[in-house]
Each structure stands twice: as structure tokens, then as C-alpha cells.
Subunit: 120 residues, 2 copies
Amino acid sequence: MTTTVLPVVDITDAACCTPLTTEAIDAERAQDLAQKLKALADPTRLRLVSIVAASEGEEACVCDLIEPVGLSQPTVSHHLRILMEAGFLTRSKRGTWAYYKLVPGALGQLSQLLDVTSSR
Amino acid sequence: MTTTVLPVVDITDAACCTPLTTEAIDAERAQDLAQKLKALADPTRLRLVSIVAASEGEEACVCDLIEPVGLSQPTVSHHLRILMEAGFLTRSKRGTWAYYKLVPGALGQLSQLLDVTSSR
DNA sequence: CGAAGATATTGATGGATGTCAATATGCGCA
DNA sequence: TGCGCATATTGACATCCATCAATATCTTCG
């Protein structure tokens, strides 16, 4: 079994500090946050994340994702790659199958960045 | 003074229920959520929201927003319109000036939709 | 009324993006 | 070794999007 993690965006450092609403963010952090939001700002990718999150162990096989979203296999792979590069999913290959798993805390961290009041 | 509210997306009803991670969302809700996320998924718009949020009364004049983001006035107006149509800002015109104000709870609601754990 | 200033709208343009068909890659099994 | 299956990559294409210049609209003030 091979575990592939593409750390294009490291969730642990970038845009990890003050939320949007307390003080104006600079251009660099805005760019960073926008990149993550863009990865989620697609109906298909939202559904993929949602299905994975609702699955056993917050993990799902590609073969189980294609039919629910109703798109071609290459398109689904493409979306999964974007979600992985944005730091929301990781991929682990077991035999012929590829399993995508939610990165713990990734959504929560983004959530907290959007607003402070919701975290209290 | 004229207050303009474009309720293209009503924040109070659409996508208001279960967060992403508890159970798989349907195509309609995904479409709805994606529309809001897309409105925020731009560096310039994030900065605009952030500046407005950090201003007195969570409100700022267009004339005070152009210089910080460093883009042309029409472009800034365009972004503000998108943020308004997505339900994040409202516009009130006082004299020649247009003031954009944060919609209370709009960011918080989106934030909670992304993840449950951050709201506990 | 007419000029000046603030904001919105329109039109054009280059670049990003979602999608699929075709193809490649890699694994398991006979 | 070779076939079949699951997934990834490539290439092409249509559409969307961010941006600006030019222009329109609206308000205030002389």
C-alpha cells in the first residue's frame, strides 16, 4: 500500500492566524485563502468531500464516487486531485483501488478562518 | 438614503441545515453552497470583505476600498456587486457615496456549514 | 441649469476552468 | 507473460471570469 500526500498547500502554516473579520488580511494571505476556497467552490467537489466525509472512516474509493456525482471517471479523478492539492483529501492506494480520505481538521481550520464568532 | 439589497441568494433558507461532514449533501445544496464559496474564492474579494469587516460599524465606502486593493474603480465595483449578490454585503447610498456593510451572520453561517466540529 | 465628483454599467480581452474522449499507467490474476 | 480492471494523464473545447477603458448615471454644489 502506498500513501501519496501532495503538500502543495501546507495547512499547518499558511493563513493560520487571525480570521477574516478581526483585521484586514494582506494580499498574500488572501491569495492563500482564496486558493483553498476555490478548491471547494464547485458543486461536484463539495459533493465529493461530503460523500467522503460521510463514509466509513471518512474514506472512500474512487469507484464509489463516480456513480453518485454522475460524471466521467477522468473528471472525478481531476476533482479529487484538486481537493488533494488543496489539502482537503489524502490518497492511499490499496491494490487497484485508490482511497481518498478527509484530512482531519482541514475543513475546520478553513471554517474558523472565515469567522470567529462561530467558533465561540 | 437608499438601501439596496439584492436577495439573489437568500441566506436564511438555502443550505441552512446539516453541515458538509455529517451526511452527503444533494446536488441542489451543493450548487447553492458552491455559489457562496465562489463569491469568496477570490483574493480581491476576500480582502474587500476583510477590510469592510475591520472598519467602523463593519461598513466602508467604495472610495476607501479602491486604493487598498490597488485595482480600477470599475473592477472594485464589480467585486462588491458579486459579494452583495452572494449575500455577504449590503449597500447603502448616502449622498454620492456608497457604503458597503457586512451582513451579520453571513460569514458565520457559511463557516458552520463547512464543519461541525469548529462550532463546538 | 451646468460642472464636478462618485459609483455603476457596458464591451472587449486574455486567462482560468470544467468536461469528455482517448490514451497511458499500474496492479492482480489466470 | 498477458489480459482485464481501476485510476491517472493528456489534449481539446466551450464556457466562465477578472480586469480595464470608455461611458453612463446620479448627486451635490455653484
